[in-house]
Symmetry: D2
Subunit: 338 residues, 4 copies
């Protein structure tokens, strides 16, 4: 077995812990050397839990550590672009959670730094690594759908995030829909050229007061002439609703929700099955492992990463176009946003 | 049992035969007295087949027959408005196939004639009477969905109509989507205020040359703030695809396709089920019977019909708005079309 | 169109009315001339309802009527064998509800009379004509299952029959399982040689007091070495449960229940679908029409009927073997019963 | 966190590696100290792969190691009873793969040794820990099924084991059905009193020549009067088929197969889904982790194990009764086998 890739994890919050655990226990090809968090206790707890030999509250301890080859950036969004630049300057390969930033200028500077340093960069669009969606992509690539005509994505959360998060999240399109924008590009293998949004505040007026919306239906036009639609809600009472459909000249494929068990119960009232898995931590566990495995493999084998910096940038452009469309109630071309 | 309603059928084409058969054999409360078709042989064949005592090539034979209480208008679309006016003038109750017309002025004159005569009018939006969709409506009315937020309709035909039909059909929105527009209003119990269309010619260039499109994703805004999306294709290789979903604050409901049988076969290649029922004649049989039964019951019991003249008019307005949106690539308010 | 087959219906109870309606309204190739019932009012009500020109309380009026070509025997089971003999003697083709009788001697005399008269006889095993089960049979015949190895039938009623019926029905195996025995032979295309029963009274002690059981698991051995299992219950709280599975060297096929609609509702409690159609009158409507159509076609075209007298006799043998197995708690060969 | 349980793994074959990996990487509460295999290279490879500090070809190295609290017996079946006795004598807690042995005398001696030593023993009936089946058990315990009446288990392998294994496996009932026997007891919460088998060699004559059968339908009678049926095949061309159904006075519950993804593809031929997960290593991964977690927790918290020695013994009695029933073609009481 090749030498494991030596990794530092930046950020020991929820998603940082997920990646740390997977790197530590599920991916023998990785060796987590250090975890950093501005909250030192959080870094230490994470280190202890996942048998990581060092914890710090100073990111520089990771960036300046010559032993570390790659960093996993899981800190808050506003730090992503800066840490990417610093990590690139320190010649570390980089996995960074989405989004890179909400500001295209910052993104471009970060990507330029990566380009200049010649390090690898992978953005955390984990859903591409979900077995269901990956199968859809495989079918499309295998020609089973023929020419794609229509894409449908349903993406609904079980409950809205806290209002304080809503205020800084960049709003639904940059926080939540951004995953669906990536999924759209990934599945169709074609770029979106124009976006139209119909949205509103139907779930909770407080979301509107925070400057966001909570419900949206988004129309996408693709370069290959296909048409897509995404529907989002911040609150589905039955849990996380993550479905995708691609329809084309040769057939169609539909992906439904995953459930905790498949027991189907019949009684005098009807036939009953389990709700979908509750939220992304349950639903996308396997994809989180797979994306990390793919990043480690790319570093280890000096291969391109499967989700590039441009893959991280374009959904932000789409999110900005979506906001403009929502505000102006008209279709907006992505080229208008640049 | 009350005296059966004496009925004349106008038009012995495909849908005329369907209604004639149901009235003759499935609905004891109806008594078909005469069938008319400009092709007399067609009228006679229909009469013989369904034990109808009289056939004619002259609609006036029906309209002037004092014995006939109600007419079923199944002739070509361009004759609907005129026959409605004549039937109203002759004091007949009227069932008319959709659409009433493509011209709002003609529709308004026809509806005015109905109003003046005080006869009943029911428009042939049969899908409302499908057990699946009716169940969705019942759930919404029962409050199981809570406040509706998102409506999704998928409506795809197994193959495009003949090009000669495409040329006179009024185009996809007035011919095909019109059913989905009606379904949207019926399910949501709220009017659409604005429509946005993204469409194209992806199935067959000949459809584009005939002035129509064959693929569309349509966004609807409702008065109650809900948002809807319809996707249409003229050709699904796997057959007639007729699905609906309503999502709201209290839950969601999804309706899938009906199949000729439910046998599921597993072999070394996978797990295989039957395609959906091929087209509307197979898929909506039950709804055709139910709508006719509802019309006959409305006449017999002097009750309002369940699909009114306004229910026939509004989807035409929606179709015209959809065309305008498509041409101008912008959301169009229904109020702009009037 | 060929001249319709002139039919007399014997018995205007529940199933008699079903067949009368189908022959009158759904099968143009049939012409119901007369209906007989010992309860004359029932015969007359049936005649009026389905536009049958004559009603009688005397079966002889049908049997002696030279205008009538075929009879549909829907009277009580104890009259079947006698009416078959009389109808054969009167040179009428015969459709007879199952079972022919519970006594093999009587069955044999009836079949001998049919044989001698050279008339057609079809027994009312309607489930063969259900689209789901017919598809399973087609798959087996087409070789998609390969060599059949295992057959599974689940057959559960929504509620037990009245105790007075239980007392005269011949018991669960001759009343209820008899349909499953026929299904087993029909699907497998092979005869059963041995039967083992494990059964009991789990639903209602009154059934046991009436000399019957209400729950059974039955093992079948087939001549082709396949093995089958049937499970029966007189009471499934969720409704009529009618499933079948055939497994073989080339694959497997499973048939599930039919439902009144396919709407699937998700709420905070789970995902909910409709119960199966309530009972045989709802579930097997289409099969009742199809079996009658097949009988009429056999008469009209002078073809063999699809369910012969022997097809009526063998499931009775199986039912008797099942009772013997239950009483003696051992596998019983069909050859022991003769 | 409490001190991890120090574990030795005996046997580094297929299932030994599975348990070693889970203990090493998935269960922080366990600390694997040593792995033994008569093939030393296998032990060493396993140790290296899962970061286990010691490997040996001598089981005594584990048994005599005072540092080790618990052993995981994954060696060949013929060694189980002996190793249980030795481990008990060495005061180790014991997890042992099923079956304990095919000989009841040996089993009893092993259980007596466990009893005398007062150590914990858990038998490897992993399927109890599958989320689907566990949910069925929960439903039954919660009273949702009411009084259980009928149990159905379908258990089919994707392909037969090698003939050399068939010769020593104890045959289908002790090797394969034994899992289903355990499932039957576990779900129903009631003991089986009598077994009837109909079986044969339908898959491969070589299996018959090796003294085994490959297809069986097994009837179970329970103390609580419920009736069960299991169907087994050594070869389902579509993969591992693992389904369960429990039906009772209050309702029914059905568990189907798990699939690698839920993408459903429709084309001109039909609607297609993925085959079930291929075999037990794929299908039951989660249950293997859960059973090991349960064992470690029982040791750590000094609680009873969830699958006891008697739970290991009774399915062997059932397997022996099944063989006797097959040979004598009659129902056999479990009390006859003792």
């Amino acid at each position: 077995m090749a030498t494991p890739v030596r990794v530092g994890v930046i950020g020991a919050g929820r998603i940082g812990q997920v990646h740390a655990e997977h790197l530590a226990f599920r991916i023998p090809e990785a060796d987590v050397r250090m975890v950093a968090d501005i909250n030192k206790a959080a870094a230490e707890a994470c280190a202890e839990r996942f048998h990581i030999p060092a914890a710090t509250d100073n990111v520089q301890d990771i960036l300046s550590n010559p032993d570390i080859e790659a960093v996993i950036i899981c800190s808050s969004t506003d730090t992503h672009a800066q840490f990417i630049q610093e990590a690139a300057a320190a010649d570390k390969h980089i996995f960074c959670e989405k989004p890179i930033d909400h500001d295209l200028g910052k993104i471009d500077r970060a990507l330029a730094a990566v380009e200049k340093a010649g390090v690898k960069l992978q953005i955390g669009f984990n859903r591409r690594f979900d077995p269901n969606f990956a199968e859809v992509r495989r079918m499309i690539e295998a020609g089973k759908i023929g020419q794609p005509h229509i894409l449908r994505i349903t993406s609904r959360d079980p409950e809205p995030p806290p209002i304080e998060y809503v205020r800084v999240s960049g709003g639904i399109f940059l926080d939540m829909t951004i995953h669906d924008f990536d999924m759209a590009r990934y599945l169709m293998g074609s770029e979106v050229t124009e976006i139209f949004v119909a949205g509103g505040v139907l779930v909770d007026p407080a979301i509107g007061e925070a400057g966001d919306i909570d419900t949206a239906v988004i129309t996408l036009r693709f370069e290959n002439n296909a048409i897509g639609t995404i529907d989002n809600s911040r609150k589905a009472v039955y849990g996380y609703d993550q479905r995708v459909e691609v329809f084309g000249s040769g057939g169609g494929v539909v992906v439904g929700n995953n459930r905790p068990h498949n027991a189907v119960y019949s009684d005098a009232e009807g036939v009953h099955a389990a709700k979908p898995l509750y939220f992304f931590m349950q639903r996308y566990t396997e994809s989180f492992i797979n994306e990390m495995r793919a990043f480690i493999a790319a570093v280890q084998n000096d291969m391109p990463t499967p989700v590039t910096g441009m893959d991280g940038r374009i959904p932000v452009v789409m999110g900005l176009a979506a906001w403009q469309s929502y505000r102006e109630n008209r279709p907006v071309k992505l080229s208008e946003v640049e």
